[in-house]
């Protein structure tokens, strides 16, 4: 048996630093939201070989910005993609202006439009609100579910405490990927898009899997072996389940890494968010949620 809970303070310290760093990064760099949340236009183009020279000529960012000056598009962000492509972002425009912008680009160099997205400001704000509601509701539902599922174990730790500790672990699991994405957003212009939000919510559902399996084992060991030292029961349960935790996380990570490296650009950051979140989830179930139960129990015993 490995004495997991003996080193609780070390885990708390590590997670504490990670969480504080994430929050700091979120405050300083904020999140770089995609246009589906902020409103605006997003245009993805690829320059194609010109009929005259047969060569692909991708105009420089400044050249593009200058050519589009007359449309009064606000701040134009041009981001080159691959060898021949570019992503342009600017304020919301109507279809006629969109066509004119495309025509102006074609004057610079022959171009093919890959995608165009325009989101009105009200739609973006609405989506933001809905996302926040969805995340909060998920957290609430999961906490309640766990408190309910563990209602039969009230000793030595009350069942609602299982719910609360898994909630703390979940907040941990969602803050760390958010922190990473705020850094990525600041330094590499990576945006929070809808797929990433979907990934974050999935992390909530998935990382609680691990916590449930471990708590379930604690529940079973308490019911079967009776009351012993609670910390020992937890250690024993963790030892029994750790192999399974590693296997489960490994299989999810395998497919997500495959998606990250071979899945193309659209799902790249979706899989990255899941890779970070799932790893953090596995860590937090073993090293945060369970030790917290023990610490909480010790603390309340000392009080009485």
């Amino acid at each position: 048996m490995f004495q997991f809970t003996k080193y609780s303070k070390v885990y708390y310290l590590v997670s504490g630093i990670l969480i504080i760093a994430s929050i700091a990064s979120l405050i300083v760099f904020k999140l770089h939201f995609g246009i589906e949340f902020t409103g605006g236009s997003n245009m993805e183009v690829e320059f194609i070989p010109s009929t005259v020279s047969g060569q692909v000529n991708r105009p420089g960012n400044e050249q593009i910005t200058k050519a589009l000056e007359s449309f009064k598009l606000g701040d134009i962000v041009v981001q080159p993609t691959g060898d021949k492509g570019a992503i342009l972002q600017f304020k919301g425009i109507d279809e006629a202006t969109h066509q004119n912008v495309l025509a102006e680009l074609t004057k610079l160099s022959p171009v093919e439009e890959k995608s165009f997205q325009f989101i009105g400001p009200s739609v973006g704000q609405e989506l933001k609100n809905k996302t926040v509601i969805a995340i909060l509701l998920s957290l609430l539902a999961i906490t309640l579910y766990i408190a309910f599922a563990f209602r039969k174990v009230s000793r030595p730790v009350a069942s609602w405490k299982y719910g609360v500790t898994s909630l703390i672990a979940l907040v941990h699991d969602i803050l760390i990927p958010l922190g990473v994405f705020s850094l990525l957003g600041h330094f590499y212009n990576v945006e929070i898009t809808i797929p990433i939000v979907a990934a974050l919510l999935t992390i909530l559902g998935f990382s609680v899997h691990d916590t449930i399996v471990i708590f379930d084992r604690i529940r079973e060991n308490i019911l079967r072996r009776g009351m012993g030292e609670f910390s020992q029961t937890v250690d024993w349960s963790l030892t029994q389940t750790v192999g399974r935790s590693i296997s489960t996380v490994a299989t999810v990570l395998i497919v997500m890494f495959a998606l990250y490296f071979f899945g193309g650009p659209t799902l790249k950051y979706f899989s990255l968010a899941l890779i970070i979140g799932v790893s953090s989830g596995a860590y937090s179930s073993i090293f945060i949620a369970s030790p917290l139960l023990v610490s909480w129990n010790k603390w309340s015993e000392r009080k009485t």
């Binding site: 797929p195 998935f206 799902l267």
Partner: protein, 473 residues
């Protein structure tokens, strides 16, 4: 034969059917080969393509906000608007357009594969135009009909009809010409029922100016038809061929001069048709403005194809890696779980085709994720089985205990995921809905494959013999 073998045979048949449905090419090639060799006429296996979302097949997705401030019955007005827009995009010739109402005043228009987005937006944004047309005289009709015939002759000889003098004349409606009466003179239309026969009728109420116009028109057209057009096409499909084109004309006969501005259209129509006509008349009478889209998403056809290929390839690699992982760490049970995983993939993809689930990139992401998660239940069970075997239990007992003991964890964790999926589904845009749907489908099917199928495989393939070679467990 024992029951477990029958179930096993059932699972094998299910797996083969699902697999063939997902990828019928090889089976069909085989059928072709046999047909050629023996002169049989075995038909091909039923094939049904996936329904691809806009982001995968290209097209445009538009969101409109209707201006309903002046409208009393908002629900009805939105229904009418949806109907009118749907008519227009159908006539635009887009394959499988989707027009749906979102919330109380939003309209989502999806046009897969559309080329000219600008024209589509212009067409959708137009105010509905309702007109009442009277019959042309023979002298007016004849030159148009002649011209149409002339052009048809030219076309059958494959000649360029644009060389014919005044060919544009043939584009005119040969039978009807517009009157001054249009939608703006109509106050409202309603379905009423005949007091004695209880048949549905359509009641038209015109405003004061419209009443005068209507009186003049009816006076000069007694016993003649009055055709009703919306957006330049017949208000309903009268030929019953499912589409509205030049051969459709909806033209009630004017029985008498009508004064007072209220008219009733009688005749043998179903209540449903009466409702359709009424709502279209109303959308022409009280046009709801939708203006420009508040959100637009256009995806070129090549982008979607490329990302589809890439993500499918990634999914296949991931699947292979999971299989290798399972076999290395869990040996024979791992191999059986891998077989169950392949059955899982086949069944899930079959459901995607059957329902059909509209596949988006996010949906495929969700599906690939579910491949990694599907074996979770198996890992739990196997880990439990190993423990029981270590404690010296017989293999068949260990299998049973493994499933029984692991079940509460499996149930709790998967229910939790389903709860999150439900929240995602309710509180989000269509993009995430696709993701939540594929993920929750994946969870449900994976429970079936990881528990039911794997258990049958274990019962069939692992017997007393394995006691001697415990290392494979």
């Amino acid at each position: 034969m024992q029951q477990k073998y029958w179930i096993f045979i059932g699972v094998v048949i299910l797996a083969l059917l699902a697999g063939t449905f997902v990828y019928p090419n090889y089976v069909n090639q085989g059928i072709d080969g046999l047909n050629g060799k023996f002169g049989w006429h075995v038909p091909h296996f039923w094939s049904k393509p996936y329904t691809l979302g806009l982001d995968l097949q290209g097209g445009v997705n538009l969101i409109y906000q209707a201006d309903l401030i002046k409208t009393d019955d908002k629900g009805l007005a939105m229904q009418g608007l949806r109907d009118v827009i749907e008519r227009r995009v159908n006539m635009f010739g887009v394959s499988e357009p989707v027009v749906q109402i979102q919330g109380s005043d939003r309209l989502i228009v999806s046009l897969p594969g559309v080329k000219d987005v600008k024209q589509a937006i212009e067409m959708i944004g137009q105010t509905p135009y309702l007109e009442f047309d009277e019959q042309k005289t023979e002298a007016e009709s004849k030159p148009i009909l002649d011209k149409i015939k002339e052009i048809q002759d030219a076309e059958s000889k494959k000649e360029d009809y644009t060389k014919i003098k005044d060919w544009q004349l043939a584009l005119q409606n040969p039978y009807f010409k517009p009157t001054e009466l249009t939608g703006k003179y109509l106050s409202k239309a309603a379905v009423v029922f005949d007091q004695t026969t209880f048949k549905p009728q359509i009641q038209l109420t015109f405003n004061s100016e419209g009443s005068k116009l209507f009186e003049q028109i009816t006076a000069r057209n007694i016993q003649k038809p009055l055709a009703i057009y919306l957006d330049g096409a017949s208000i309903i499909d009268t030929t019953g061929d499912g589409k509205i084109d030049v051969s459709d004309v909806y033209a009630p006969i004017i029985q008498d001069k009508i004064t007072g501005g209220t008219a009733v259209i009688t005749g043998n129509i179903s209540a449903q048709t009466a409702n359709t006509i009424t709502s279209r008349l109303n959308s022409g009478a009280l046009p709801v403005k939708i203006g420009d889209p508040i959100s637009q998403e256009t995806v070129g056809p090549t982008l979607g194809q490329a990302s589809l290929q890439k993500s499918l390839w990634a999914g296949l690699l991931g699947l292979l890696a999971v299989v290798i992982f399972m076999i290395i760490f869990y040996r024979l049970p791992g191999l059986l779980a891998s077989i169950a995983l392949l059955v899982y993939v086949a069944i899930t993809l079959s459901i995607f085709k059957l329902v059909p689930v509209t596949l988006t990139l996010a949906g495929i992401g969700g599906f690939i994720l579910s491949i990694g998660m599907a074996v979770d239940a198996n890992i739990l069970i196997f880990a439990r089985m190993k423990e029981e075997i270590k404690q010296g239990k017989a293999v068949d007992v260990a299998i049973k205990e493994g499933f029984g003991r692991a079940w509460p964890s499996i149930r709790d964790s998967n229910l939790n995921s389903l709860i999150v999926c439900a929240i995602l589904f309710i509180f989000s845009t269509s993009f995430i809905k696709g993701f939540a749907l594929t993920l929750s489908l994946g969870i449900v099917v994976s429970l079936f494959s990881a528990i039911f199928i794997t258990r049958i495989l274990l019962q069939v393939f692992i017997g007393k013999w394995s006691e001697k070679v415990k290392w494979i467990l």
